[in-house]
Symmetry: C2
Subunit: 265 residues, 2 copies
């Protein structure tokens, strides 16, 4: 398959070589910054770098848009593609409808690898979930087949479900990271190292991943241990943001696991 | 060394064989439930099981109390030990002073492995942090040496610091687990599987563990992306506990990373 890679950021940086490895040819890498396109094109076999958006004379089966969410609408208006080229973006937050007013008459879809990428770190795509959505079933099959060459975890996920996935990812990933930061900060203030907690954190996450997390809940809130909760809140009273987080999540756990009454106030 | 294991729960279940492997002899396993003591003793070499607390006629270098926090005070009053036997508990939440009114005249300390244990799962003690505290420096050295035979991560941690460690562990582990449960619940309601998020969660945790977590913060809150935050809150409005958690942690992230103003209300 002949592929145009629109973008040269973290996602493109990992997807392009993986697609090559699966036997496809990345003929062109586009970036608004020509140097970025060149950097990625150099990693590939016979790929040209460009900052131009007219691809009408290029033979391509797929144009894959892997750029920042807020730049997708703009590039979609600029891209000029042969009519048979399928166009797909790799964004978790961008609805399929962004392609509705394409200047051409191309089939379109979403090809979203649900993972965070950084340039320095090697990526094993085989276990990364791909969320696929498409204008029609032939395009969906086309994108399913391609994703299936990279990964064992391919899912049909519509734009609404992708939004819910994003809410859930913010809670399970971004918020979790902030809890780690809060915890680290509390320890540092007392001259203790966050390293002390790392084995426990890893074990906690491992258990939650293997079982349903609502079955692995431990701690003072689920035990309804008011004495410990009050003691911790007393300690946190000079740390308003940690206090607020402690109180809110404790209340949520008490609510979930059925203490019935609010034991914090 | 001759060791009395006071308790036959999860911690004792893993510590006793590890101490044997390090060359020590668990002479007696005590439990209030004789059958539990017997179950653990059967796993060991020449260990006796008992539900009696008079050990005055037993030669023992160390009595290790590995029982539930709220039962420690009671057992400390009941235990009768030879004067030279050091007594230590394995609890993260129990101060050293619990030993102040020992009936005998024994040296005492804390021997706290900072990890969660379950009977089914094998434990590699070598990377588990041991937090040591003791009445005097000779007892501290004694417990440091013993912990050093099990693990490479031994720390002098006083009772106040242990309390702070507990606050930090509740936030980084118990609360994190609840975020996973909230996320899982949101996905299930929409017919999506939590499995979809697991690779992303694992990568997020790995990044936070390798770097300082305040440097790996991503998501709409740290980007100050009010449109996405409002959209997510709107979606969560019929899920009060998730709404509350989303709002509080988002506010905390905004506060930490300096948006300066409250963008949620």
């Amino acid at each position: 398959m002949n592929i145009l890679m629109i973008g040269a950021g973290n996602v493109a940086w990992h997807l392009a070589p993986a697609l090559e490895k699966a036997g496809h040819h990345i003929s062109i890498v586009y970036s608004r910054q020509l140097e970025n396109a060149q950097l990625l094109a150099q990693q590939l076999n016979n790929a040209l770098a460009t900052d131009q958006t007219d691809f009408r004379d290029v033979g391509a089966d797929l144009a894959l848009i892997a750029i920042k969410d807020d730049a997708i609408a703009t590039i979609v208006k600029q891209l000029q593609l042969p009519n048979h080229t399928v166009i797909a973006h790799t964004s978790g937050n961008t609805p399929l409808q962004i392609f509705e007013h394409l200047p051409g008459n191309n089939d379109f879809g979403v090809f979203y690898p649900l993972q965070t990428f950084s340039k320095q770190k090697l990526v094993d795509f085989s276990s990364i979930p791909f969320c696929i959505e498409a204008l029609n079933s032939s395009t969906e099959t086309f994108l399913f087949d391609l994703a299936g060459q990279l990964s064992n975890s391919i899912h049909s996920v519509n734009s609404y479900q992708r939004k819910i996935l994003h809410v859930a990812a913010v809670i399970a990933c971004n918020f979790t990271n902030h809890l780690f930061a809060q915890s680290d900060h509390i320890l540092q203030k007392e001259g203790l190292s966050f390293d002390l907690l790392k084995p426990l954190i890893q074990e906690t996450v491992e258990k939650a991943m293997k079982n349903a997390p609502h079955k692995t809940q431990t701690g003072p809130a689920v035990r309804n241990d008011t004495r410990v909760i009050q003691d911790h809140l007393k300690y946190l009273k000079n740390n308003p943001s940690a206090y607020q987080v402690y109180e809110t999540i404790t209340e949520s756990i008490l609510l979930w696991y059925g203490s019935g009454e609010n034991l914090i106030d």
